[in-house]
Structure formats: structure tokens, C-alpha cells
Symmetry: C4
Amino acid sequence: MAANRILAHHGVLNAYGHISARDPDDAEAFYLSRSLSASQVGEGDIMRFDLEGDAMADDRRAPYVERFIHAAIYAARPDVHCVLHAHTEEILPFTITSEPFRAVIRSVSDIGVEVPRWDIRTGFGDATNLLVSTIEHGRDLAATLGGHSMVLMRGHGFTSCGPSVLRTVSTAVNLPRNARVLLAARQMRGPVVAMSAAEMASVSGVSGRDLGPDSPAARRGWNLWLAEVGLDGAE
Amino acid sequence: MAANRILAHHGVLNAYGHISARDPDDAEAFYLSRSLSASQVGEGDIMRFDLEGDAMADDRRAPYVERFIHAAIYAARPDVHCVLHAHTEEILPFTITSEPFRAVIRSVSDIGVEVPRWDIRTGFGDATNLLVSTIEHGRDLAATLGGHSMVLMRGHGFTSCGPSVLRTVSTAVNLPRNARVLLAARQMRGPVVAMSAAEMASVSGVSGRDLGPDSPAARRGWNLWLAEVGLDGAE
Amino acid sequence: MAANRILAHHGVLNAYGHISARDPDDAEAFYLSRSLSASQVGEGDIMRFDLEGDAMADDRRAPYVERFIHAAIYAARPDVHCVLHAHTEEILPFTITSEPFRAVIRSVSDIGVEVPRWDIRTGFGDATNLLVSTIEHGRDLAATLGGHSMVLMRGHGFTSCGPSVLRTVSTAVNLPRNARVLLAARQMRGPVVAMSAAEMASVSGVSGRDLGPDSPAARRGWNLWLAEVGLDGAE
Amino acid sequence: MAANRILAHHGVLNAYGHISARDPDDAEAFYLSRSLSASQVGEGDIMRFDLEGDAMADDRRAPYVERFIHAAIYAARPDVHCVLHAHTEEILPFTITSEPFRAVIRSVSDIGVEVPRWDIRTGFGDATNLLVSTIEHGRDLAATLGGHSMVLMRGHGFTSCGPSVLRTVSTAVNLPRNARVLLAARQMRGPVVAMSAAEMASVSGVSGRDLGPDSPAARRGWNLWLAEVGLDGAE
């Protein structure tokens, strides 16, 4: 719940967009809210799905249409424990042009050197409604994602994933910032200096340690974000 | 009333700008607020007009100068049940240049492949005050609109229309977003990929069904917007 | 007082920047707040100055350093009854480049076809602190302003003036908007279509009538602005 | 504490970023908060460090990783009494391109004619995590800073310093504004006119006097900022 609220506050999630977590006790299942705006999700709204995107335990509440994004990525990527799908405005221009979305600030090192671009038109033709509304769409997206941790979706948004909710949220909160900085830099003199693979590895390695539940740096950001959405002390 | 408040909250309507609905019981009449800022419109402020733009039932309250926009479009387009006129800032740059305003995100599919541009100077010369202040101005605008669902107005704003208030508002809320994404994309490498006609038809077809009063997706956005303007539970 | 609060709310005035009114009973005097941030100005803070920029009635409170802007313009321009000096961010880029600041939306028609650019370096050399801190600076600025109603000040801001507080404030509130629209239009295809002189005259003529204290259109905007700063019912 | 809150309110400091002051009674020591987000710093959170970046008086609370920035600059620059390190978004594009960050508005005159650019890669190779996490990093940064008052840090942020907290904060509050104005100006016609060295000296000279605790101009801005963060009357 906290992740939904934080991402809504930072403008990453709006009325549409969702975050899920793999069931820590069952790698073949994941948790995702029923169809609700992120800022309105509460504890009681979480549903459990299998890796085909079907609700488990005969839960008949209305799910998100695009739950197949999550299902297909958890199926393809055992290392992934959190999946985020969003339509963040600042990312959208990169989905409809050939401008590479590169990490230029250290807080998004987890996205890696390359962020692939997926166009539903390539695999499913020119008459879709752009939504990932079947498990086949989801698998095609997961194939383009490959071993990366973020994939752009043309005219639609992006999907990112990571080894934990904290890592995925921490990176996502900074994605709009990285996008705005890149856009501004494009209008300035000289080539844009992106982070190198070695720098990213170094940051992500450090972050990996730093972002454990007890590191002061991780707690510092997370506590501020909780306070901003009125959830001090909660998880 | 809810439509006025939602559009004001999203920055689509400001002190000037208005939305109307055709009378469901009389195709020759429509409802529109008296001359008020959108954020201040209440139930008691709604007036009824005929398709010449004259107030009905001897209502002598001050109407919007530009009520003729609504009258002329309802007269020309039997399929239209809602008309919106606004001066949304993000749209204005497209009205004073030759940059096409194209749908690049699925949430504005209803605007269609082409959005025509109207300049009052073309039909009425170089000394108008730019306002659609007569039924003749309104008819000229409606002629440029033709069968489209949105028309840009040079140095002034835009007018959009649709089959229902919900459809028109849902699209309008996303117009500033589409405009900002397009502007940013213009500054990036490579051509901009817009939505295709088939994709738009597919989205609008789905939306048509989805945006019925009981669809979870339509309710999700609408409920969030109502909550944001403090009208939870109201219509 | 209302003018100060409205302009602060709209981001036209910040900690620095001020608005004055000619004394309706004495053309050789004008009213201006003591040195305070616009959002903090109250009725008791208003001082009275002569056209040399000296405080009258032996008022020893600290005045704004740049009161000479107001003094020199009231001296040079009998038609002016309100002067505004501000450092509005959106206007600043136009003061340090050769990009013309042109009216492209009707709400700023009062600025006219041409807005001159003043650089204190031209008349006073390369070692000033950029402030209009003497009556000589003020007179030089007023000379560049000439018969126009707005003048850009390099690296500093702008000064605008008009026949009434309501007209000057109404235009000023829309200046940032006009600037943002122009900036965006610069990045799009095709030449930018500005308002013509005839259109401006037509709008300003209508506005002149419309902006009398009883016109619904003028009241509509003014009332919204008062409500926004918590001064409903006040003047 | 007030400085932290003001800079957070103005978006200069976010969850990460910090400001310090040299101990007025001991030039070999400086004060800096323990590892906290700027908006959450209170009086009790301030720690004391020596010029190697080690906490004094056996204080074992978790310090900021990048305290070495402060230590190295105080060691190298006896004239400096305040150091600020931030990741302000508007500055970041200048750190990853070759676009010069120049003062174009008078309120940032203290940054001087030239702002050097530091890339940790130059001195420490391609596999750092970009943080100034050792005293050696700090000294290298201080060497690039030299006699200037601001240094850009590639993909990371900037560090600025000054003769007092008030001067450093007053300039920092206006840095995002200067950056936005420069970015917009880059997209307009004609060369950008920056402030000259003589103008900067003149402004800084005046400011030096004006920014003493009793000058009305300095108090005007400071009081507004205190009010904005709910610290009226506090220091």
C-alpha cells in the first residue's frame, strides 16, 4: 500500500498504473491490487494472481486489464520480485521517438545501460488498442525486456522491475527526474555524458547494500516519502 | 457541475472556458452555465439555450459571450451531446504555428487523426477581437470542425465535442498531457510516432464500451477526479 | 493591497517586485508600498511619493530602492495611472536574448505590437548593479518605454503600465502565460502567428468597456482571483 | 535549521543534499546535520566535524556520506564560512553537457563569471559510485573549485560556498531560476547576454552591505522565506 501511495505522490502513478510483488512464499504467484487508482489502494484491495494472470482463490473482484504484464515478467524472470507499470508523462516522449533513454543521474543506475523500446504494432499489427490485454502480449513484452530492468512501451508508458519493492520504487521515483534532465540536456551544447556501465554497477552494488532495511541512506528517503503521504511509522 | 470542477482542477478550464450538454429531452436545446469561472459553477447557475445561442424561458442572467460556439455545433452535428471550449495553455502553441496536434497517447484517441485549425481572420478579417461573439462566427467554426471532434482556434484556444459528457471530459483531461508529450518529443531525435487510425478506432471502440456508467475502468478515473475536487459520491 | 496579493499568487510578483497607483486626486503623487514582499503588503504599508521618487509627508519608512521606475514613468506619461515592476521568471529569457516578446494570446493585447528592450549598460556603463536606483536611471528607462505599455529590462525583469490598476493587473496575470506559449511555439514547425495591431486595438477597445467595474467578464476574473487569495468581497 | 527548511521549500534540497557552517569560534571545525532529509532537520540533529570529515566529541550518530565535501573546502578556503551540496534538478543538465552555467540574473551574482565542472571520472576512474565518499575525493573537488564559489559535479549536482549562511542561501534559492532562464534563452534567437564581471562585482558589493542582518532588502526575502516554512520570528 505504501508503494502505491508514494508513487502516486511523486507523479509516477496516476489514475492508471500499478505495482506488484511476487509472493515471497510461492514463486508462482504475485500480489496486485484490484482495479483501483494507486492513491486509493488500501490493504484490503490486494489480490493474488498466478503466472498466467488469472486471479487465485476464486477472487472475482475486477482486476487491472494489464495484469498480464506482471504475470509474464514473473514467469520469464526468476530474479524479479517487483514489477511496476506506469504511464509517467516524462517518459512518454522517449517512447514515441528514437531518443535513447539513458541514465544520467546516479539515482536511476538500476535501469542499466540500455532500455529497450517495445511497440505492440510490431508483433500484433496496427489495430490493437495498445493495451497488454492478453498473456501473449505480456510474453512479447517480456521478450523485449529480456534481461534488462526497464522497457519503454510506445505511446503508452513503461514497465520496470527489480529484486525488491524498495529498489524498484526508489528507482521509479527518480525516473521522471532523469527524463527531465535528459530532455533539457538535449537542448544544450555538446554531447550528453551518461553514466558508464562500471559506474552503474558500482552504484547498484553499493545501493544493494545500502538499501537493506537498516541502512541510514535508504531509510532517509523512504521515511521522507512515507511522511509526505501521511504514513509515518507505517510500512 | 462536476464536469466544470474536474476540468478546472486539471487546468483545462480556468477563469474563462465552458462546457455544455445537449438537453437529453430536446435536441434543439442545450444547458450551459451563466457567465462564471468553471471552479465556481454550482447547480443553480445552469441556463438553457436554443441553437441560435439565445437564452430560453426569458432567463436574463448574463451568459457567456461565446455561447455561439455551442449553439452552432449542436445545430450542425446531431451526433454531438457535449461541447467544450477552453483556452488550455498547452494547446495554445499549436494554434499559432503549423505544428500538427496529433494523438500520441491512447487516452486522447477520440480527437482523431486530424485536428483542423481555425483562424477567425480568414473569414472575418483582421480587426476582430478573436471571440466567437455571433452565431455567424459559430457557424464558421462549426464548418471548419466538420466531422472532426476537435478544432484549434488561433491565439485563443480550442473547442472539442463528443457523444457524452464523460467521453468529452475524459479526453479533455488528457489533452494537456498529449500536448506536453508532443512538445518534448519535437526536441528529440527521430520522427514522432503518432497513433494510427486503426489504433484510435480500436481504443475508441473499447472505450465506448468501457466508458458506460458501470465499467470499472471509467469509474476508476471518474471517482478519482471527483475525490480530488471534494465531490465524492456526487455526480 | 488586493493587487499585490493577486500578483503574488499568480507568480508575477515574488519577494521583490512592486505595483503602484497614481493618486487620483493629485497627478503629481503616487502610492506605493513600503519595502515589503508583495504577498505581505497590507493597507497600512502604503506610502505616498512625488514624481522625483521622494517620500512625501516626512514618511521615514524604508521605501523600495527602485521607486524611481514609478516616479519617472508617471512624470513622462500623463495617461498612465498604474505602474508595475516585476522579475517574472518567464519574461526573463526575452530580456537576455533578441527574441521579440510578442502578444500571441488575446489576454495580453494591452502590451501592443512592440515591447522595447532596455539595457542599463547602454546608458550607464558596465559596472552598475542593474537596479534602477536613481531618478536618472528611471528617466532613461521611461525614454525607452516611450509610448509603449511594457519595457523589458535586461537580466532583471520588466516594467508595465496602464490606464488603471485593473487593466494593468489583468494583463500582467497573463504575461507568464503568453511567454510560455511563445517559448513552446518557438520549438514547433512554421512561423509564429502573433496578434495584429487591428486585433489588439479591437480587443483593448472591447476590454476598455468590458473592464469597467460592472462588466460581468471583468468581474468574473477579478472575483476568482480575490477568492484565490482569500479576499472575497474585499477590494 | 532555518536554512535547511528554506532550501527544501524552494526545491534546492530534497531528500539528499546538505548545508554546513564553519564554527565561528574554531576555524578547524564545522557544523552539519546528521544524515537526515533537509526538511526534517531540527536543532538537535546538528553534529560537529573536523576538517578531515571526522565527527568530533565521539559523536556516533550516522553522518552524511559526503561530509568530505564540506571538510575539504573549509580546509582549502579560509574565506568560506558556509558550504552547500545539492542535487537540484535544474542544475543537473549543465553537469552532463558542455553548456556553461552563467549568471544571467542579478540574484546569483555571487557565483561569479565562471563555474567550473568536476567529473569524478577524471581523477578516480570509471568505476566510482559518483559520491564524494573519501577525503581524497573532497580535496580533488576543492582543487577544481579553486577560488570560485560554485562547482558543477557531473551526473550528481553541485557544491557552492560563501562568506555566510545568508549569502549562500540567498544565492542558492535563485540558482534553479537562473538555470531555467538560461535553458529557455538557449531556445531563442540571438546570443545570450550574461552579466559582466563588473556588474557581478557591483551587485555582490552592494549585496555584501545589503545582506547584513539589518538591511531591509535582505530581511525582506529572508522573512518571506521563514514565513513560507512556518518559522516566522525564528532564526
